[in-house]
């Protein structure tokens, strides 16, 4: 028997009992819509969560600190940095190296935190430039000014002792007194609290850009300079080093940029294996997602119950139709129908019920989803931000729903089909 004949026969038999078939399909429609809408809600919740985290920063960045375990302390030195950079999936890793220096512009001075960062990592750190540019690998004594450093430029109150500007003056205006982009800058490690005998070098420096963006972030109060420059400055100015010891830079914080989000897990694990501490938004997001899994389970469960009821409906319909068609099945057997063909005929019927229910149920789901997103959420009935959608039906859910409903149809039809196959031809014909 050809597959098309089996399909045609199944469709025809369904059509013969229009009302009953329709009611059974309706059950599947409701079941499908229940599952799809419920899952779409949980997808919506997760999507909103991801959006919220994306607003908080780059998900592909992992922050790394020295590790502690008991009395053991794992430091991050240049050797450790090389190990971190060598981890598979790391696009670029840079320390945030802290230093401290005095910057002189004309009559004004400021004593500020200096942050040494690899210029090639800057584009990934979410730094917004309001003027000028980021640092490049060509730069040396070049500076990127945090916006909150500028207003702290002051005329030193006394040229002898208090090389002012270190203590914040709350009366100062927020307007920067000078334009750092225009003037020549000097940089010195002489904070004025030394013994007075040590001679500090005065470096010529230049501003290349100013960090802007809304509000403050971790870079607002610092001046960013190329990492190699800052290491050199430390070597040349740190008193311990000048007394002959070899200077080994150590870093308190490292930023690692992953090539893709999929690399995060592997990178985090490798970093922890090195004995370091790590933290990433991705990890936090994963944790948050895990807590939404419970919600998904409950919502999906509610949907699954209605699908189970629909499946029982299909089985019931098929068993009923076998009772009604006992004689017909018997005649087909006498005429030499293959047992498998008889089984298939019934399976096709129940699978068709499942499939049609699935298709229409999906249509209904899209309707409900639209309603939820545009009517309910749009009218502001629920406190959901406009850009996040309440219900999302991703393509995988569509395919899953169709495969699922057809399989439910098949499985629900399995028992009736086996019954039809086992029916004795002779007894079937005898039933009047």
């Amino acid at each position: 028997m050809g597959s098309l004949d089996i399909l045609a026969m199944g469709a025809r038999n369904l059509w013969r009992r229009k009302v009953r078939s329709l009611l059974t399909v309706l059950g599947v429609i409701i079941g499908t819509a229940a599952i799809v809408v419920m899952i779409s809600l949980s997808v919506g919740i997760e999507d909103a969560l991801v959006k919220q985290f994306e607003n908080m920063g780059d998900l592909s960045i992992v922050e790394v600190w020295p590790g502690f375990s008991g009395n053991e302390r794992t430091m991050i030195d240049t050797e450790m940095m090389d190990k971190i950079s060598a981890i598979e999936g790391v696009e670029v890793a840079t320390p945030l190296m802290n230093s401290y220096a005095r910057i002189i512009a004309d009559r004004y001075e400021v004593t500020t935190s200096i942050m040494g960062i690899k210029p090639e990592a800057l584009p990934y750190l979410g730094i917004e430039i309001s003027e000028g540019r980021l640092l490049t690998t060509e730069d040396d004594l070049h500076m990127l000014f945090g916006s909150q450093v500028l207003p702290r430029f002051q005329i030193p109150r006394s040229t002898s002792n208090m090389r002012g500007g270190y203590y914040p003056d709350y009366n100062q205006s927020t307007e920067p007194p000078i334009d750092v982009m225009e003037v020549n800058l000097r940089l010195s490690y002489d904070m004025g609290w030394g013994d007075g005998n040590t001679q500090y070098e005065l470096y010529r420096a230049q501003a290349v850009g100013i960090i802007g963006g809304d509000g403050y972030n971790r870079y607002s109060y610092s001046v960013i300079m190329p990492l190699d420059t800052v290491i050199r400055l430390e070597q040349e100015n740190n008193s311990n080093n000048r007394s002959g010891g070899r200077y080994e830079p150590e870093f308190n914080q490292v930023m690692v940029k992953a090539a893709t989000l999929d690399d995060i897990d592997h990178i985090t694990a490798s970093i922890q294996q090195l004995g370091l501490q790590s933290h990433s938004l991705s990890e936090m997001l994963e944790e948050a997602k895990r807590s939404t899994e419970f919600i998904r389970l409950i919502l999906g469960g509610i949907g699954a119950i209605s699908m189970l009821v629909a499946a029982l409906g299909i089985t019931n319909t098929m068993v009923m139709s076998i009772y009604e068609r006992t004689r017909e099945i018997g005649v087909m057997k006498v005429l030499g129908a293959k047992l498998a063909d008889i089984g298939k005929m019934f399976l096709v019927e129940s699978a068709l019920i499942g499939f049609f229910g699935g298709v229409v149920g999906l249509g209904v789901s899209f309707g409900i989803s639209y309603f939820l997103n545009n009517i309910i959420a749009g009218a502001g009935m629920i406190g959901i931000p406009m850009q996040a959608r309440m219900s999302i039906i991703p393509p995988w859910l569509v395919i899953l729903a169709l495969v699922f409903t057809s399989s439910v149809g098949l499985i629900a039809g399995l028992y009736p089909a086996i019954r039809a196959m086992r029916l004795s031809a002779l007894e079937a014909i005898r039933t009047e």
Partner: protein
């Protein structure tokens, strides 16, 4: 012996009705030759239908053998093998027609060809020819409910013959028909069988039917009491 198409050897059938054993057939021995018409007669309950059903592979014998073409043992075949054997070799006509109510005459006749996997075009052509042979060329689109009993039985005869089986079984094919229609049906069925060299095994209680047979087999209480060649 070489002409023997079906051999029935020591065939017995015992039905278990609770604790009671009903012997429907008792050690029946018969031979059927190709192209002949057989009529099985006997009182009600003598085991005629039981024999026919077992020969058509619809029921398993309790004991004995049913051998087709001298080497196909029906009693040893699985359910699936029996279905295949029926599909290829056997046509069946029921007393109560057993047509599918929702199908047209043409679709009913084409049914065995559907199971044989023929294309729609081929099976419709064959079914239409068959319906013309039984004189219902103008009724191909009719549903069973729109036809008389005689017409329905002719559709069922067309269905039995359409796949050109070697053997046709008919259990009281005229049982529900009046005598004039019975005659027409009997003439039709024997004519087609004879024309194609097919073996026809009939069950009947009325005397007239026996007139169409080459051999009449009489049953009494599950035993063959007479085989009469004309």
């Amino acid at each position: 012996m070489s002409n023997t198409q079906i051999a029935v050897k020591d065939l017995s059938k015992i039905y278990l009705m609770g604790k009671e054993r009903v012997a429907a057939l008792k050690k029946v021995n018969l031979e059927f030759e190709k192209g002949k018409v057989y009529c099985i007669v006997g009182k009600s309950g003598s085991g005629k239908s039981t024999l026919l059903n077992m020969m058509a592979g619809l029921e398993k014998p309790t004991q004995g053998e049913i051998i087709y073409f001298s080497n196909n043992h029906l009693e040893k075949m699985s359910e699936g093998k029996l279905a295949k054997f029926r599909r290829q070799n056997i046509g069946f006509v029921f007393q109560s027609y057993n047509l599918m109510g929702q199908l047209t005459a043409l679709e009913n006749v084409a049914m065995p060809l559907v199971f044989k996997g023929y294309s729609r075009r081929i099976r419709n052509k064959a079914a239409k020819l068959m319906l013309e042979q039984v004189g219902l060329g103008d009724r191909i689109k009719h549903k069973p409910s729109q036809m008389s009993g005689g017409q329905q039985q002719r559709v069922s005869i067309a269905r039995a013959f359409v796949s050109r089986p070697g053997i046709i079984f008919a259990d009281e094919p005229t049982g529900n028909l009046d005598s004039r229609t019975s005659e027409e049906v009997m003439e039709l069925i024997t004519k087609i069988a004879k024309a194609n060299g097919q073996t026809l095994v009939l069950v009947s209680h009325d005397e007239e039917t026996a007139d169409y047979a080459d051999t009449v087999i009489s049953f009494l209480d599950g035993r063959v009491v007479d085989v009469y060649n004309k």
